[in-house]
Symmetry: D2
Subunit: 344 residues, 4 copies
């Protein structure tokens, strides 16, 4: 079985393991107050050209999302996001469990627009019963999105401009940030991202860390007492050093984006094979997730050879599925799949 | 600086690191649906002689506590525990954030008694306004406690008998379970513990895992849909294999309790030194935490050499502090401290 | 200004005021433990032919909804309802504030179907990631709905059958129950309703009480400790007698449904005038809310004479609005409006 | 049976009923946007000499408390109050249900001191683990307290000074404010109160309204979006006019404090009788609640004649109980009780 079903099927980059082994018996303070976390946080501030940014390390994406949102919002405020947003669908109601409504916006390609956000804001304030309706307080987008698409620099700038105009925080879920920043033609880097949102996170888990995400807070209003809320939500790691070590290794010398780029290029090979074979895509994109529409009979024939994720039924005899490449994907496995696609 | 301030200053047991390295590139399903988690869960069921137990792996202790409590209680129910209980003091209101009140009981040595629990239950049902008062729903105890003391088999049995009589769940926080089970004269093992509570967790973080706790659910009523709530609370780890691998290594061949026993014996050396020097203890105990009362001047003189935790002021010139040994403590460091205590 | 904008523009039925005045200085126990509440509860059990029903009185509809839902669900469960359901739109996130997601289903006429509920259930259990997705736990419908439509006996029976099949509670919001039960051709009465759901409430506020709703719990599983949760959510009224007195007066001798029927007949006159004039309806219905589509110029000409609610824009020059009749509507005001409609 | 068990045994002042009847069929907008609420709010601002105060009307005390606290605090913040505070004991965990911990301070007479608050603040910031411990965010006091005692002007001023110094909001629960302001020798009036806290509420329910409390927000930071949170918590009344009407009647021409004063004087007669008979008080006080310590045999002999509240056991044969006078207490009933006390 070759797994293309997600980007967290393996352990971690060898360099991370090596560093964990190397530093294993060094004694450090707990809860992120160690030299490794300090070093990683500084690397992030440098990459973002954001010397005042607050950086915190959490265990996973759902944890990061719920902690940031709980920290940012007052009780009556909700989160605008794509109807297919991770927080809207796949976090078992984590945001609601902190008391906040997720306000879904239609986004067939996974991306919401600044115009949609503006409209939601306007609709709310113009409603006669506005104060009986959840007030938008934060916009959540993913870079790349759950459908593998990305926001360009211009789109981010426009989104952030609208958010500021409407008094909304902009939060970017970067679980797959490496695969976005490494995408062909992408004009967003850490610096651009940091300049165009209030808070974002740099995904580790899906980019070859054992686990861990780095939350980067740009807006001063969101910095106060963030650690308390990490603790309250169970996201403060006792051996915080583990996260500092991993992010230092991930971010050193451009390794993070390079990791994303490599996986995106491998995904391109699968995309190319689909195109050659005439399989359309549910959503065109250029990152590490590919959503081809494939005959059910073909999918059935592959089920013992490849693991992939079922996305949705398209018609009576076709389904959209998801293939993911990752930091760990082997070129020979991609070649095998591409060949099978072409020959299907 | 030699750190005795906590039991999570280092990384992990070498055997855990070795296994992580060895299995690193094996592809597995995510979220704990992998062979390593299955293996570790089975080892736990075997150790507990509880073939029907549900086992789940979470990232940390606060995460485990809040998830178990949120899963177990209805909105109006609260948790009975020691006023010094971890959930009552050091989790930044994690239980309250899930909507539940922590009902503290006085426990100078860190242990609450079955009699206290029974009294709290009786007081509640006898109150004229009982349905305007938080209803106890679960009893939380720690084994070993925050003050290093332990519950004997008889105490656990009596506590569980009372809990069942009063319709209360009994939950045992085992962050330091190894240090309890390894204590001199302890008559509780995994089997006894599993037979005398509804749910408990086996601590990994403080016993030499990189991170992770294993929640063991004995009571069927608590098993339903537990994974949803893990997800909702941000405690479901994408690369769940990491926890399966670590617990397999920790639990194999008695290693877990042996680890605790070794640390307890090292702690005994520090205890002995305190006794020799005439330093009393805030609370007598026999696990890996030691709480001697020491002159402030002596503590001051040690501050660049040893890290330890401040517990409380005892009088104008004395404070109680905490020294911890752990899975990683070096005998030579214990000897150095013991000598310094005797010579102070 | 004649108000047709809602059904809570006036105080209360004269018979309610009379009874409040008459009993004013009688001393009673607080919190609903008085003879008036006992009497009203028994009247409700009799009307419902549900001798084991638990009856509780709360202050308002949002309070009733959030209390019932908080009492019924575990943390990971959500509520299936119409996208236009009151809890989904107009309660400022009250359900989310208790930690639960509202799962909206498309319902252009305000009614969801048993088939939709079944499908949502099936989709959930068939999803590969089902335990990372909010689990439906309760179905919320309104009788009459937010768009003035009603569920027939057959529809309720089918809905309840499906709910039981899927392990879902069925909860009926009866804020406007009188207007539903009094509707032309309605084959649902208290008994039918009580036999076909787990819990519902009888609306007082919109049917001529000063305030108050009566929650009727049929399913034993939902009865336990409900009063605690009323208290916790701030819905337990100190002078509970006020609610007992009001519901006794409302329900005596068929007055409640008669009140609804009268308002529905007055609404029919407005409906007839719209039909005569050729104004279509956003949604056809037969209760006390009417949603005609009217030229903006006509609406503008009425704005100082009538109060009505804006519903939505239909095209460049037409809007849908809502007119409500109520227990207090005067026939002469209806005649004036009907004449103005015909002459517009 | 003569009821002295609480101050909400009867309906409402006759003037309130008269006004409700008089205005019954007047049509008004809902949700407090009516002329009666505007008038009452203005009366309150005038009484408080606080022209910028925001005034909101809610249904009851628990509702007011949980709404104010939910609106004021961030997730990791808790409430400092007396261990016997209403929110700490008798609201079934309402504050915890909004996610916040109640931090109890010892207060044998029901009053906490500015010094205690300061100490709690200092202890928190000096703790090594401060960001793992709930952060105090608001101080809750009751005027009068649950034990019938009151805060003097000097005490309020000192408390507010400390709160501002420590970055804590000061919130005063005025469920029994009339009985405090009407107490013998009281130097606090509306103006003093409003000048020495961030938010308080004027109790209606216990002072002769059918129901209702008026929240008065002085601090601008607490004003934003308060109505949303009222709605979310189920505390926004559809027929808000009812609250406006009641508070206008209660507050007109000094009636509110006069009502309190009259009840306090009647309580004095009961106090005097206890003193004459030699019954000590659990807590000395001068408002409408009296807590004498009385032989159980005497209490037993009264149980069919008087209703009173059981407070606590004092010794084997004595208990402390609570007698309340109220706006509705009849002098002849007080005389009967006083005679029975003297003759017991």
């Amino acid at each position: 079985m070759i797994r293309f079903n997600c980007d967290y099927c393996e352990g971690a980059h060898q360099r991370i393991l090596d560093k964990l082994v190397e530093t294993n018996m060094e004694q450090t303070p707990g809860y992120g107050n160690d030299r490794f976390c300090a070093e990683a946080a500084q690397m992030i501030r440098d990459l973002c050209k954001a010397p005042e940014a607050a950086v915190h390390f959490l265990t996973g994406g759902t944890q990061a999302n719920l902690t940031v949102i709980a920290a940012a919002l007052r009780p009556h405020q909700g989160v605008l996001c794509s109807e297919a947003g991770h927080i809207a669908v796949h976090e078992a109601g984590a945001v609601e469990a902190t008391g906040h409504k997720v306000l879904g916006l239609s986004a067939p390609d996974g991306k919401i627009t600044a115009q949609q956000v503006k409209q939601a804001y306007v609709d709310h304030i113009n409603d006669e019963s506005y104060d009986q309706i959840v007030k938008p307080g934060l916009v959540y987008i993913s870079q790349s999105t759950e459908l593998g698409t990305t926001y360009s620099k211009a789109e981010l700038e426009e989104m952030y401009r609208v958010c500021k105009e409407c008094g909304l925080y902009l939060y970017v879920d970067g679980a797959r940030l490496a695969y976005a920043l490494g995408a062909e033609g992408m004009d967003v880097d850490f610096e651009v991202l940091a300049a165009n949102c209030d808070v974002f996170y740099i995904g580790g888990t899906k980019v070859g860390a054992l686990f861990g995400e780095a939350v980067v807070i740009l807006n001063d209003a969101l910095k106060t007492d963030f650690r308390y809320i990490m603790r309250q939500e169970g996201g403060l790691v006792a051996k915080g050093r583990l996260l500092g070590i991993q992010f230092s290794e991930l971010l050193r010398d451009g390794f993070y984006i390079e990791t994303g780029r490599r996986a995106d290029r491998l995904a391109d090979e699968i995309r190319k094979a689909c195109e050659d074979r005439g399989y359309p895509f549910l959503v065109p994109n250029n990152t590490n997730q590919i959503f081809p529409v494939i005959p059910d009979a073909v999918l059935e024939s592959w089920k013992d050879k490849y693991a992939f994720a079922y996305q949705c039924r398209v018609d009576e005899s076709h389904s959209a599925v998801r293939f993911c490449t990752s930091w760990a994907t082997r070129p020979e496995d991609v070649k095998a799949l591409a060949d099978d696609i072409r020959n299907s």
